[in-house]
């Protein structure tokens, strides 16, 4: 069998959905540890030779709480939320009162947070909040990585610490009130050419 360099499909010809595999490079794995609460993080930080301090625990607990408020999924009903996160794992949205319009006022409960060491990538400790999944596991709001527990240490892909799209205000694709348009496209680094205007934003 000769190994072909040419794909079997192009956008012109539709041949059904591809079989997809999720892979992560070993290089991209970072040290991570998760905690159900601040206290268990602080307790762990006092053991020897760990990569985070009590201060990291505190700062990242606050950051994770805030990120949870900004990016955890929001739902129109408690039933819908429990479908995604399991019965008993959902509650009201504490930010709902401040929002105009409302309509998405249920969200999963904050189940702790995961710390990750980005030392090998140039800096610092990052964190993500954790919520339950429908199958009884734990996941970050982005949802593409799930974990058996919220109290363990191991290696996870650095991408696990990628922020989920924000749901505070309005979740993606929901209607919103737009105050201003046209704030992108001024091409600030380009000035009119002596040979005529620019044609493309790409190249």
């Amino acid at each position: 069998m000769i190994l072909r360099k040419r794909g079997r499909r192009a956008a012109l010809i539709l041949a059904g959905t591809a079989t997809l595999t999720l892979t992560a490079c070993k290089d991209d794995q970072v040290d991570a540890q998760s905690f159900p609460d601040l206290e268990s993080c602080i307790a762990a930080s006092k053991q020897n030779e760990l990569w985070f301090t009590e201060d990291d625990c505190r700062k990242n607990f606050d950051a994770a709480k805030q990120e949870f408020m900004e990016t955890a999924p929001r739902y129109a009903s408690k039933e819908l939320c429990e479908q995604e996160h399991g019965v008993g794992n959902c509650g009201g949205d504490p930010a709902a009162q401040q929002q105009s319009g409302g309509g998405f006022s249920f969200m999963p409960l904050f189940m702790g947070y995961m710390l990750g060491s980005m030392m090998s990538r140039g800096g610092g400790i990052f964190s993500q909040p954790m919520v339950r999944t429908a199958d009884g596991k734990y996941a970050t709001p982005k949802g593409d990585q799930s974990f058996a527990t919220n109290r363990g240490a191991g290696k996870v892909p650095a991408q696990s610490f990628q922020r989920a799209p924000t749901t505070l205000g309005k979740p993606p694709m929901s209607a919103t009130q737009v105050n201003q348009r046209g704030g992108f496209g001024a091409s600030a680094t380009s000035r009119p050419s002596s040979s005529g205007g620019r044609s493309s934003f790409g190249g």
Binding site: R4, K5, R163, P172, T176, N179, G202
Partner: protein, 407 residues
């Protein structure tokens, strides 16, 4: 590598029209040109283009990890100070790249040389991934190309895989571009097809129609909140536009990620040369500010004196100057001793800091100079597309040429 004259497919222009490839001719000149095609051996593709391009992409990410923690480099790359945390965060979180195109000088003999890396807003994706793919399919069926011939082009499939890998199932992705530019639009449409095939929701919005909501989120033309935004619009402009202060607080996830601002920036070329001097696929590169005096008989800046001395003969034999921000050849000058300088008339980026790069003379095939565009999808080279021009500086009207593998 050779250029082979081949019969055109009868009726390909009608087919192009039918498929919506409306810019197959531009400015009265052919843009898609299949009167001839470039032929490579499998060894040339795998050893001289595919493997080096993938390796260069990894080297670029190494350069990012160095620059991101160093204000000296961020300053030289003209990254606005107020946006540096935003960019650094995107890197440390491991926000994944989608695609990029490396432009390589290659003549089939020596190692391919990196001219520049459009890692942020590359176009000509439809031509490379789709129309070139179809050309091969039809020419092989017609017997113009042999049954054992091949093409280095799994761009579409790898895009589908990458979209699935870097997004959650059924995630909604907005694609923003200038709808009045057919080339730009074709590129985002090609991407959107791949995203849909990966099971994602793909929505187009005109770049200029993006709005800011009362909650500080970005919204599309229909006032729907944008969670994930692919933008065919350069980061160096995003970072300076009126909406720039809202980039981070909007919570939007961007594709390409913000750290790509450092890769598509031509200031990465001197950094790559500093990290890997003498790399077979790199050309010596410096900031013009550091070596301008030295090139006219004076001294280089002390911190590059040693590197400059090692590359001086090569630079004197010919070099190119180009602005750190520039696309489609704008602001590029080509300087060779005893010859008048060659410059592009488009000077819209010439007020930015310049870099100097040793000249890699492009090969000459029938009076045309081809540049190999190596597509990086994710972190892997998965295909190529060639552009050629009578001028030695490739620009936006340069012709696209199909390629095939034989032998």
């Amino acid at each position: 590598m050779e250029k082979r004259h081949l019969p055109e497919r009868p009726g390909w222009r009608d087919e192009a029209r039918k498929l919506g490839f409306t810019f197959a001719d531009m400015g009265g000149e052919p843009y898609w040109d299949e009167t001839s095609a470039y032929r490579f051996t499998l060894h040339e593709i795998e050893n001289d283009l595919e493997a080096p391009a993938t390796e260069l992409d990894a080297l670029c990410r190494e350069a990012v990890s160095q620059a991101i923690a160093d204000d000296y480099w961020l300053e030289r790359m003209a990254i606005p100070p107020e946006q540096r945390d935003f960019i650094a965060d995107s890197w440390r979180r491991g926000e994944p790249a989608l695609y990029g195109r490396m432009d390589l000088a290659y003549d089939g003999t020596g190692p391919a040389k990196l001219l520049e890396y459009n890692a942020d807003t590359p176009t000509s994706l439809y031509e490379s991934a789709s129309f070139q793919w179809l050309w091969f399919e039809q020419q092989q069926q017609a017997g113009v190309l042999g049954p054992d011939s091949d093409q280095f082009n799994s761009i579409h499939e790898s895009l589908v895989e990458r979209f699935a890998e870097i997004n959650t199932p059924a995630e909604d992705v907005h694609f923003a571009a200038d709808p009045d530019n057919p080339e730009d639009y074709a590129t985002v449409e090609t991407l959107a097809w791949a995203a849909r095939e990966a099971g994602l929701g793909a929505h187009f919005t005109a770049l200029s129609a993006i709005g800011l909501s009362e909650d500080g989120q970005f919204a599309d033309a229909e006032s729907r909140v944008i969670g994930t935004l692919f933008k065919l619009y350069p980061w160096e402009d995003m970072l300076r536009d009126e909406f720039a202060p809202h980039l981070q607080s909007s919570g939007t996830r961007f594709i390409e990620p913000p750290w790509k601002a450092l890769v598509s920036n031509k200031a990465i070329l001197p950094l790559l040369w500093q990290i890997a001097p003498g790399h077979p696929n790199l050309l010596p590169a410096f900031f013009l500010e550091d070596v301008a005096d030295a090139l006219t008989g004076g001294s280089p800046a002390p911190h590059v004196a040693q590197a400059f001395a090692a590359a001086e003969a090569q630079l004197r034999a010919g070099h190119v100057t180009k602005p750190i921000f520039s696309r489609e050849g704008a602001g590029v000058s080509l300087i060779q001793p005893g010859k008048p300088p060659v410059t592009t008339p488009d000077d819209s980026y010439s007020h930015h800091p310049m870099i100097v790069q040793a000249l890699a003379p492009l090969p000459d095939f029938d009076g045309f100079h081809p540049v190999v565009g190596a597509w990086i999808i994710g972190e892997t080279c998965t295909g190529i597309g060639l552009r050629e021009d009578r001028s030695r500086i490739t620009h936006n009207l340069s012709r696209f040429k199909p390629h095939f593998i034989e032998g």
